[in-house]
Symmetry: C2
Subunit: 291 residues, 2 copies
């Protein structure tokens, strides 16, 4: 069944004449005849009763009704794709590391959503390593994460460098000090995010360099969760500043004077996806303006 044939059918039904339909659709009459004959044989039913005037058969009327569905769908699909070209519709699958997803993305995505209400947004929170994998697999359109292990299929554009600080419970001895040093970590129970990432690697390296080997008590794969553990006195943790702008009650932030690790955060995406679509491009542009 050809969609053009269905259009022809609907035109005939509307105009009540093969000839007029042929004129309107810029066909020769015989073409119309043959299209309908083919359609009829495809469907196995006669659609028109022929005479000088033509009438829809019962089957014809039925088909007329239902075929409308098809043409409307076709219109809808074509329209959708056109809208998509202008970035007005579609779905953007965003991957983000937790601090980004929780503390920065909401205010970035809100205006985007207002401007393009038909663009669906999907947010996947995970660590940089997994996000990178998902980007490579094509499961995400863009990821906001830390510097990944680059390869030739991906592109990473840094956005900003995230500072980190120490989060300590109020009753902890270190909470007395204005600033802390890496050497203060000696013997402390350190809580870490539960996956290997650049930030964690740098931290551990810095600690080793400072001659400190802290006691790693607990790993959790959520920074938000980590804060709760600090709060109840489980230990101390190094977390991105953005996550502790408002430190949880019973905890305090300390700058680490001699820790020089900055965690680079940026946009990761596949190379060569010029066809990512305007929606993704628009979003990336918007994100960049925020930093």
């Amino acid at each position: 069944m050809d969609l053009r044939t269905i259009k022809t059918f609907q035109t005939i039904a509307r105009l009540g004449s093969f000839q007029k339909a042929a004129e309107e659709l810029k066909y020769v009459q015989s073409t119309v005849t043959m299209q309908i004959q083919k359609l009829e044989s495809d469907l196995g039913v006669k659609l028109f009763e022929r005479g000088k005037k033509i009438y829809l058969t019962e089957a014809g009327r039925l088909f007329h009704e239902k075929a409308d569905l098809l043409l409307r769908d076709l219109d809808y699909v074509q329209n959708t794709m056109k809208q998509w070209l202008h970035g007005e519709t579609g779905k953007v699958r965003i991957g983000a590391i937790e601090p980004m997803a929780i503390f920065r993305l909401p205010s970035i995505l809100l205006p985007f959503n207002h401007k393009y209400p038909k663009v669906q947004l999907s947010i996947q929170i995970d660590n940089t390593q997994n996000l990178t994998k998902m980007i490579k697999e094509g499961e995400l359109d863009l990821a906001i994460c830390n510097t990944p292990n680059l390869d030739h299929t991906t592109l990473f554009e840094p956005l900003f460098i995230e500072e980190v600080s120490l989060l300590v419970p109020k009753e902890h001895p270190l909470s007395e000090k204005e600033q802390v040093e890496l050497s203060d970590f000696k013997g402390e129970r350190l809580l870490l995010s539960g996956f290997v990432c650049n930030y964690r690697i740098s931290l551990e390296k810095s600690l080793v360099e400072a001659g400190v080997s802290p006691d790693i008590q607990l790993e959790v794969n959520s920074m938000s969760a980590l804060k709760e553990y600090v709060q109840v006195g489980f230990g101390i943790a190094v977390v991105p500043d953005v996550m502790v702008k408002n430190p949880p009650p019973g905890t305090e932030i300390k700058k680490i004077s001699d820790l020089k690790i900055g965690v680079t955060t940026g946009i990761l995406r596949k190379i060569n996806t010029v066809t990512n679509g305007t929606a993704v491009e628009n979003l990336i542009r918007l994100i960049k303006t925020h930093f």
Copy 2:
């Protein structure tokens, strides 16, 4: 946009491979490639990202979703037409004269409706003349009416002959008699159905032959209405027996001993509409078994 191409697209999306799709759809690989290329250029967007593994682009995912609609509707349309072939769906436009529509059709249509609940029924009540016109115009699939003026485009199959009787108000002098004769009509106020039909023509002819020229006081184009007029004493009326099986309160039925008109009722339809469809055929068969 070709529907087969869309099917190919969906298959690729499902199997994640041009090659596998080609196998499943019994194409050569290159065909699949070219179909998709055409589709992409038609839509103006890239649908897949190519590599050893292929991925849907954002546009591809969007199209995937929307195109599903199209294919589902296509299925639906094709199914509907298949059902129609078995008389299980469709719409039957029935025309009927009033006595038929009110007193006989309901009990005929009920079992039909139970057996074929998806077949829509439409009933148009009118006189034989108009029904005939509608049949010729293709506005009805079948009509149950009196013998029409036949022509070569229509076919009339008689079902039964309707007897007529006289309906009189109880307080009327004629209600005393067991039977009436045409001569009794002399000077009576006769009520008639308001359109020219075989039954009315025969009646008037019979009256003239009996030397009676009754006083025609009122015409209504509804037999049901006619009964009401008789009931309130407006006059007397000759009506089909079926309409007065239960004469309205305050009225009585009298056989007219010397009136020999029988009103033939039958099925009228267009000749050559072999393609009327199973539903119509089924209904006609059912109607015939009732008489």
